[in-house]
């Protein structure tokens, strides 16, 4: 029991490393606030492209893109980009590598969610909107996409939570987000308390979101 407190919940060490970990937490938060909107926008664009185009080959290309990046572990993608770029003569900053990797990976996931949402809106909606004189683009923007988004809101939130958790892989390329900072602190104090503290901070950040997601899912099931 003593060993557990000494090594996992060492308050003296908690106090010492807390300011550093807090800075890491901020990095995690703004990194999420950077990559989630990029993923949402590019995912929606892909979904619209895939569902609205009349060109069969374009539809096919979108499906291939999505399956390709769904088959690729995000960490592998990140490492390929980060360690591969110098061999191409590119000097890619860490943040750029992380943003590109996340965009490729997240756009495919978010586009699958948006596609399901768009397909859940009955075809009559588009016809009715067009018959009131809206252009196709206006109908998508004001009629179809808002309904589609509402229908898949729980999945969008769920995906967003996954992305926040995924920012931990940025630690592998030494971007100083929460996990990275905690591991650096651990090797300085030679005690795993900082990692446990980081886990508690992740829990504090994400548990409310997970609870919110559960409620959203429950409500959307009740509506059906």
């Amino acid at each position: 029991m003593d060993a557990l407190i000494q090594n996992f919940f060492n308050l003296a060490i908690y106090r010492e490393v807390f300011p550093f970990l807090l800075r890491g937490l901020w990095t995690t938060i703004w990194l999420s606030l950077l990559v989630i909107p990029i993923g949402l926008v590019s995912g929606l664009a892909l979904a619209l492209l895939g569902t609205q185009t009349r060109h069969r080959w374009l539809r096919f290309a979108v499906a291939v893109y999505i399956d390709f990046f769904r088959s690729f572990p995000p960490l592998v993608l990140l490492i390929l980009i980060y360690f591969g770029a110098p061999f191409l003569g590119l000097d890619l900053p860490k943040l750029a590598a992380v943003a590109i990797g996340f965009m490729l990976n997240n756009s495919s996931y978010f586009s699958e969610v948006f596609r399901a949402g768009i397909e859940s809106v009955p075809g009559g909606q588009m016809e009715a909107a067009r018959s009131t004189g809206l252009t196709r683009w206006q109908a998508l923007r004001h009629v179809i996409v808002p309904q589609a988004t509402r229908n898949v809101l729980p999945d969008l939130v769920g995906n967003g939570i996954e992305v926040i958790k995924l920012t931990t892989i940025a630690s592998v390329v030494a971007l100083p987000e929460l996990l990275r900072v905690a591991r650096d602190a651990q090797s300085l104090v030679y005690n795993p308390s900082p990692i446990v503290l980081a886990a508690l901070m992740y829990l504090a950040l994400l548990w409310p979101l997970v609870r919110w997601l559960s409620r959203l899912e429950h409500r959307s099931r009740a509506l059906r």
């Binding site: 996992f8 088959s71 592998v76 061999f87 920012t167 996990l179 886990a199 548990w207 559960s214």
Partner: protein
Amino acid sequence: MGDTPVGLDQFVFTFLNAEVAALYWRDIARGMGVTALLSAAVVAAGLALGLALAVLRSLQVRALGWAVIAFADILRALPPLVIIIVFFFAFPFIDLSMSAFTATWLALTLVLAAYAEESIWAGILALPPGQTEAARSTGLSWWQTTLSVILPQALRLAVPPLTNRIISVTKNTALGSVVALSEILNVSQSATSNAGNPTPLMLGAGAYLLLFIPVVLFARWLETRWQWKR
């Protein structure tokens, strides 16, 4: 490296170098074996544990229900990489050392179990209560009802979310590279730094596609085939 990039020859020499590939492909094939074995072990144990937890929750014992919910919440809130690192780097300090394989397997199994429990539980909730009542009124016991009436239907409902979760959790086996588990990513990374050439990384990427594209396509097929007809 390359001062002025890059002709096609240069690109091929750098990223698809046959000599380097010949040197390291065996290592990467072994890594593929580790990834496949780990994935299979995670899926089997994770689904079994998730199913057991969902059944436990449906016993309607309040304390048990809370325990299952807390487990599922925590395991869904923590990033898997954090769990792996806690198991591998923190547990030895309290005399609970485990190998990189065990740490990765255990972490991913617990995560998959949490999601599986939620999906199966949602499937159970989606069934009309008349199902249980009708089954019980024919004289089936609670266990018989659960096993032969409720679970078969609930599992069918849980298939689409489960397939997605299985894909993402098996891809997370790559996280094992962080604790030096010799799966595909780790093997191809160390080969890349030994060779001073990224060809092994490209081979590793190819190995993942080889392993996971069939899984993604199979999941798509399963989802359309098992779709609930309303």
